[in-house]
Amino acid sequence: MRAISYWGVATSMACAVSALGLTPTYAQSTEQAQILERLDTLQAELDALKKQLAETKTQADQSKKLAEKADNRAQKAVLAADQVRPNAWHMAGYADVGIEFSDGENSDTFTSGKFNPAFHFLYKDLVLFESEFQVTTMDGGETDLELEYSQLDFLLHDNAVLVAGKFLSPVGQFQERLHPSWINRLTNAPVGFGHGGIQPLSDVGLMLRGGIPVGERLFTYSVAVGNGPRLGHDGVELEGFGRDDNSNKAISGRAAFFPIDNLEIGGSFLFAKVTAEGEEEPDDDHDDDEVLASVVADSGDLQDLPLRDYDLWGFDAAFTKGNWDIRAEYLNANLKGLGDPDDDHGDVIEPLSWEAWYAQVAYRMSGVSDSSFFQKLEPVVRYGRFTVEGDHDLEDELNEKRFNIGLNYWVSPSVVVKSAIEFRNYMASEREDDTRLQLQLSYGF
């Protein structure tokens, strides 16, 4: 019995020992498994995070791209909103009314003045069409309609514009730049300028013009080839004619530069040939073109008629700074004679020459006083002289010295009430001088 219990004890001990030895092995492997398991989950979580991160990155990239696209669109929209229709247009112009009292041959009179509507159409920044009419009531009551200009301007280059059609003459400064009554500081043109003067008014043809920067300064040019002037009753008619009466084209132009910012100095010229008298004057019942066509048909070519050289040159200056507006302009024109003065046979036509100039100073009183009334006032003086030589009748009719003194009230930059006294001193001894009081209201719109 004892032996059995001994073996029993030994077996139990062995069991206990083995159990003791086994237990840690068993405990160790479960922990490992657990760690491994956790590692696996961590790995999976890491993978998931990595995947998420990648997704987020692509999403971010996509959002960035989207944002860029949106931004582009927005910019385009802003640009598009700023842009005006490709065919844009504008109506402008001016109108004036006036009254003139005279102590000379002329009676006191109201003048309905002028209505000058102007139309401008622009296709992109490529072509501009501009046209202006002048509607006036004539002395006899009829309405007169004139085409001041009607031109297509091709904006070829930043420094060159090609003008085609009927355009205001580029010669000098008064006609092209100052004649609209809301710009002109006095109620009329200086003597020798405007209608009946020697400053060319308009021409029909082509003109190349533009401004070229030279360092800090600007140089400008306008060169025109046109049908040119014609000979009329009172000398040379310097207007654009719808058809040339000879094949010679007139070349005219102006070049100007700015020695300082506020001073512009320009030089102008016109070279032309005019068909000498002798052709039938078109009477009013006939259309100019018809008469011209019949003369051409009869004579084969109007070039068969003798031509006379007509040359004109001049210069102008403008100083505009602050309240000051100072301008001066000079023109000199010559019409060559015909025939040899030493030859007793055959007709001799004497040469004719003209000269016209003016100087004008205006001073705007803004800043001079606190009163808003005074600030809108502008005193102005102008002196001008017009002379012709070579024909006694013309000399008596035209030669004149003219002095103007005026006071303007500027309601707005383009609405003005002008008052002026004009002293006309005719140089022909038998003609009496003439003093006029002028009032004018002009509105540029």
């Binding site: 402008a92 401008h120 280059h157």
Partner: protein, 97 residues
């Protein structure tokens, strides 16, 4: 001054120049670029150029479309270079409301 025979080639040259120029202008016309300094340059050029012949007109006188046309008109009349005219236009169009 020019005689007929001189005038025909002259016209031809003018027409060719016109066509070439117009082609080049067309190629450029559709590429507007935003330029932050344009406004400042325009304001300066406006002050320098736009009171030489007549009183300075107010920016409020015209809508954007009217300035678009009118500045082209003034560019031609006053021989203002195209780039300067565009700056003045941008300035006026940004100042009229």
């Amino acid at each position: 001054m020019t005689r007929k025979r001189d005038f025909i080639p002259l016209m031809f040259v003018a027409a060719t120049v016109a066509l070439l120029g117009l082609g080049a202008a067309l190629a450029q016309a559709d590429k507007p670029k935003a330029d932050p300094m344009q406004f400042a340059r325009g304001a300066k050029a406006w002050a320098k150029n736009c009171a030489r012949c007549h009183n300075m007109r107010s920016a409020q006188d015209n809508s954007d479309e009217e300035w678009q046309v009118d500045i082209a008109h003034m560019r031609v009349r006053a021989n203002i270079p195209g780039d300067v005219a565009r700056d003045i236009r941008a300035f006026l169009q940004a100042s009229n409301n």
